[in-house]
């Protein structure tokens, strides 16, 4: 399994520790995300998958440790400098985080308008909505969209600033199998065509197997990093079980879980 300090790393977390009150989430977490690759963060509920994305976006500061985004250490940056780094990031939130009062078009146009985009905003928004397969959704309000459409609009919004790194928090949660495959194919195509570094959190083992070039498995506040095949063959039974629990292979429920 790979080491945390890859020379091609686009995002690096080094010895990160974080606690919420008495609950320690990370205890010396180290991992890196290669440039231009699709990395999937896996782990049980409460393992801190979404928190890793929040740390990378500096929505959360660690108690200790360093986080490098595109070579820039972000934990001690001023708000203004952090915003410069965020200009290179796009984030798709689990629930979409679209503004209810704005139409789909206005939601996608918002980051462009705020950055005083010099090009044709309408054309850029149309291009992004077409890229996610929703060319006619512009006039709709977020409340008029299905779960899959919300995810795709959120992805379109995350992509409008031409980010180098896109963070996707649970892009497959709450979707039917067809929409899972649709969003998965979309992410893969965008990562390939645009050459972006894609960091995805997921519970969806099948999608993770198919799309991930690297998996970061969170366990006991630390990360185990490897390819899907490496982690599946891990001698650590908890990691192996995590992969097998979603399939048809041999799997033993932990004691007391079947009650």
């Amino acid at each position: 399994m790979s080491d945390a300090s890859s020379s091609e790393a686009h995002v690096v977390l080094r010895e990160v520790s974080l606690a919420f009150g008495r609950r320690r989430v990370f205890d010396g977490l180290s991992c890196s995300f290669p440039r231009g690759a699709i990395s999937v963060i896996l782990g049980g509920s409460g393992a801190g998958k979404s928190t890793v994305l929040r740390l990378i976006g500096r929505l959360q500061r660690p108690d200790r440790g360093e986080i490098f985004v595109a070579g820039q250490e972000i934990t001690r940056l001023s708000d203004r400098r952090v915003n410069e780094v965020r200009g290179r990031l796009g984030m798709m939130f689990q629930g979409g985080a679209l503004l209810d009062s704005l139409s789909v078009f206005e939601n996608v146009a918002l980051p462009l308008r705020e950055r005083e985009h010099r090009g044709d905003v309408a054309q850029e928004v149309r291009r992004r909505l077409e890229a996610v397969g929703l060319p006619d959704a512009g006039p709709l309000l977020p409340s008029q969209l299905s779960g899959g459409m919300v995810k795709r609009v959120a992805l379109a919004r995350a992509l409008v600033g031409d980010p180098e790194i896109v963070l996707c928090d649970e892009p497959f949660s709450g979707l039917d199998p067809v929409n899972v495959r649709r969003v998965e194919a979309l992410l893969e195509r965008l990562a390939r065509d645009l050459g972006i570094t894609l960091i995805v959190t997921s519970h969806h083992i099948a999608s993770s197997r198919r799309m991930a070039e690297q998996i970061v498995f969170l366990q006991d506040g630390r990360a185990v990093v490897g390819t899907p095949a490496e982690l599946e063959a891990s001698p650590d039974r908890r990691i192996g079980d995590f992969f097998r629990a979603d399939g048809e292979g041999p799997f033993t429920l932990p004691e007391g879980a079947a009650a």
């Binding site: 929505l59 965020r86 985080a97 679209l98 503004l99 918002l110 919004r157």
Partner: protein
């Protein structure tokens, strides 16, 4: 030896000081947003509509009802002393100096302040504010400040409408129902009310109450816990804290400046 009472008191004192510090930082953020471009005219106008126009019926109707009650009670009391000709002055001074700004503040807190806290709290829960941060957009600038400024601007206007409606309500009862001369009602009002001391003072109170309600509502919403219960708590505390704050601040403004 542990003394729970002392521990609890100390903890509460620390929480209170922390809350004060957070409020000061929050106010600083609003002031900073006020001077930084861009000027968000459209959002400000939208907020004016939501807070002001949509409260018109409530404020106007309540104003008439309060004026009618004041007219009835005032007439019944004044007639005992043969001073019913002073009804206009009694109704006018009561609503201009006290009831207009105070009751408008309480009504607007219940209708628009609570809605404001709930809206911002929901945005926190649904990660919409984090979504803005990830687009390098300051939520204080885009969401909080327009609401706060609109609440401050709209309160004196609504208070003036409430006051006029109350005077009209007093006139309805005193003149139309109880047979007082209309000219006497209006001339006693005109003689008793001083524009600088009473009317401007009333508007000053309303501006202070507007700023107070705006600050409390946005602060509570912005710091709501990320759950439905958190939004509910933020909404409830906005109404309670704003109402009590209006009454206390009203006393101090009256006592210190004689308004």
């Amino acid at each position: 030896m542990r003394v729970p009472f002392v521990e609890d008191t100390g903890l509460r004192a620390l929480q209170f000081i922390e809350e004060l510090g957070k409020t000061a930082l929050f106010m600083g953020g609003i002031l900073r947003s006020l001077v930084l471009p861009p000027v968000r005219v459209r959002r400000f106008v939208n907020e004016l509509y939501d807070i002001g126009v949509l409260s018109l019926l409530l404020v106007g109707g309540s104003g008439i009802a309060v004026g009618m009650v004041l007219g009835l009670q005032g007439y019944n009391t004044l007639v005992r002393f043969g001073a019913e000709q002073s009804l206009g002055a009694v109704v006018g001074l009561a609503v201009i100096r006290e009831l207009g700004p105070v009751l408008t503040g309480l009504l607007v807190t219940g209708r628009a302040g609570s809605a404001m806290a709930a809206e911002i709290g929901s945005m926190v829960t649904n990660e919409q504010l984090d979504g803005l941060r990830m687009m390098a957009i300051d939520p204080m600038h885009l969401v909080v400040t327009p609401k706060m400024v609109a609440m401050t601007a709209v309160m004196p206007l609504l208070s003036a409408i409430f006051t006029c409606a109350s005077i009209f309500g007093g006139w309805l009862v005193g003149v139309q129902l109880l047979g007082l001369d209309g000219g006497v009602y209006l001339s006693s009002l005109e003689d008793a009310v001083d524009f600088n001391d009473d009317v401007l003072g009333s508007l000053l109170k309303a501006v202070v109450f507007g700023a107070l309600v705006g600050l409390i509502a946005t602060f509570r919403g912005y710091h709501a816990r990320r759950s439905a219960a958190g939004v509910s708590a933020a909404t409830t505390s906005t109404v309670v804290v704003s109402s009590v704050a209006i009454l206390i601040v009203d006393y101090f403004i009256t006592a210190l400046w004689g308004v």
